[in-house]
Symmetry: C3
Subunit: 137 residues, 3 copies
C-alpha cells in the first residue's frame, strides 16, 4: 500500500472565495504513484468547505448567493458571544461539507466530464490549510 | 489489498428521480470479494447526488419537495447565461452531496437496520453514471 | 493493512443532542495501531448525523436553530402516514450528512486546530449506533 499526504495553504484576498484545486489534487496523485485507490481532500478548518462541482463562474456566483441566503451573515449568532463574527461561515461549511473522497483508477482521478474539486473559503484573508491524503496501490 | 471498480448508468424517465441502488452496491461488494474495507459510491455528474437514507416513498416525496424549496428552479440563475437551465440541479447536488463511503465488515455493507443507498437524479432523461469503488481485504 | 472496527451506542436524554465524539475516535485510532490511513465515522441510523466542526456551545445552539429553520418539524410530512413523526429528523440528517472520513498521519487524527467530530442526534431517547472503521498501516 502507498500513502501520500500533502498540505495546501490558501490565504484568500476576499472573505469568501472559491478556488479550483483540481490541478493540485492531480499533482498529489502523480507524486503518490497510486494507480488504484482513493484520495481524501479535506479542509482543516471549520469555516471552509471542499466540494466537487462545475468550474463555471456564473454557477460559482449562484452558489455564493444561495449559501448567503440559506446560511446568512447575522449579528446575533450565539457563537458571536465568544468575540467571533463568523457564525455564518460555520453554517456554510456544514452545508457544503468540508471534505470529498475522489476515486482513483488507472492513475487518474476517476471523474465524470465536468467534475472539478473546489476549495470554498468562507472566512478568508488569513492562512488556511487543506489536506490531501491518497491511499492505494 | 483488493480494489474493485464498477460503473452504473442511469437514464431516468423523469427530470428528478430517486433510485435505490443498494442491490447494485451489494452486488459490487460480492464481486470484489472484500471482507473488510470501504466502498465509495459517487455520482460522476455535477447535477446528481448519492445519499444513505430510508426506502420509504412518502419520505422520498418529502425530500423532493424540501429540495425544491431550499434549492428551487429559477429562470435567473447566472449559470443559465451559458445556455443551461439546470442551475437548481447543481445546488441540489451540493445540498445532498454526490458521494457516500460505506463500511464493509464480514463481507457485508455494515449498515444499520434502515440504511439504503440512493442515487438522486436532479437533471435526468439522459445517460448519467455512478462509480462504485471498493477497497479492502 | 490494518482494519479496526468499533461501534458506539448513544441513548440521548433529549430529542436532539450534539455529542463530541473526538475522544472515542482517538481511542479507536490508538487501538487500531494505524499510523497512516483514514477513519470512517458513520451514523448507522437515518435520523442522525456526523460532522466535523467547532466544540463551542453557542455555535451548537446556532446550528440547532438553523437546522430547525431549514428542515423544520411539521405535522404534514408524507412520511408521517407510516405512523412516524420524525420526517424533519431525516431531512436534518441529509442536510448535515451521516458520515465523515478523517485522515490519519503519524498515528494522529490529522486535524486543524479546531476540528472536532460530532455525533448529531435528531431523533433520540432510544439506543442509536455509530460505526468507526479505521483502515491503514
Amino acid at each position: 500500500m502507498r500513502f501520500y499526504t500533502e498540505y495546501l495553504t490558501f490565504e484568500t484576498r476576499k472573505h469568501r472565495e472559491y478556488i479550483n484545486i483540481t490541478p493540485e489534487v492531480e499533482s498529489a496523485l502523480r507524486k503518490s504513484e497510486i494507480q488504484d485507490g482513493m484520495i481524501l481532500v479535506s479542509a482543516m478548518h471549520i469555516t471552509a468547505g471542499v466540494w466537487v462541482n462545475d468550474a463555471e463562474d456564473g454557477l460559482l456566483a449562484d452558489i455564493d448567493a444561495w449559501l448567503e441566503k440559506l446560511a446568512p451573515f447575522r449579528e446575533d449568532y450565539r457563537h458571536h458571544r465568544t468575540g467571533e463574527t463568523n457564525g455564518d461561515s460555520h453554517l456554510k461549511s456544514l452545508l457544503v461539507h468540508h471534505e470529498v473522497v475522489v476515486p482513483v483508477t488507472k492513475s487518474k482521478l476517476d471523474f465524470g466530464p465536468w467534475q472539478q474539486v473546489y476549495y470554498a473559503e468562507f472566512d478568508g484573508q488569513r492562512a488556511k490549510r487543506v489536506i490531501i491524503k491518497a491511499m492505494g496501490e
